[in-house]
Symmetry: C2
């Protein structure tokens, strides 16, 4: 029942929709609001898209999920506990790879030291060309 309490603990009401949205985000890893809605509809067909949007926002406010910009405009949501990696988005094939935050540690520190800028590397994706596409491209 820890699952029921984490929402209550944050001062949120425990509604089926809310639980399902959170569960969907966790299960999907990273997903657009649309994908979350689709997932939730498997068990709760009537859920409205705006409810999904509002719940994602609410859950984000209390720190249970976070969104990341992977490009093209739309945001994708992650469970907060999974946000331990950064996203490598390939501009050619569109794939999204992961890399541990550590690889960016130097970069983050440099920005902090030189510009006082406190970087959240997970919020935006890192754009480039993945190894597969790079190999294909340069052939």
């Amino acid at each position: 029942m820890a699952d029921q309490h984490e929402l209550r603990d944050k001062g949120l009401r425990l509604t089926p929709q809310r639980e399902l949205v959170l569960a969907a985000v966790r299960e999907l890893g990273h997903a657009t609001p649309e994908e979350v809605a689709e997932k939730v509809r498997q068990t709760h067909p009537g859920i409205n898209l705006s409810t999904v949007y509002r719940n994602l926002e609410t859950l984000e406010n209390v720190g249970l999920v976070q969104h990341t910009h992977l490009g093209h405009g739309g945001a994708t949501y992650h469970a907060a506990e999974e946000l331990t990696h950064l996203h490598l988005v390939c501009g050619v094939c569109g794939s999204v790879g992961d890399a541990p935050i550590d690889v960016a540690a130097n970069f983050v520190n440099a920005l902090a030291d030189d510009y006082g800028f406190k970087t959240d590397v997970t919020h935006f994706a890192v754009y480039g060309t993945c190894s597969a596409c790079f190999a294909a491209e340069s052939k």
Copy 2:
């Protein structure tokens, strides 16, 4: 007249709209399509927004401009020759700072060595909190 040839050289037709869009991007540094349109309207009031979008796309295809995602969904355009810096977007105040690409060199290399991922650091903004907001936040 080099200005007229650079478009022709790329195999593009030289239309007033096209020139003005390119000039606007250069003058504005970084701008949304909407801002480009507004700028162009100062000298060419009738220009249509879709013409701006299409020209930005065309100019991007031939490498004269590039777009960057600064968050919130919209893209901003830059003249290709100005893309020598990365963008530090503050999530609190929304300001966009610049930093030379060099600070990311280590990071880019690490990604290349460990993941074969060829990063284009200028394409996506770097998200975080600027020094001013960080100071204000932690008070």
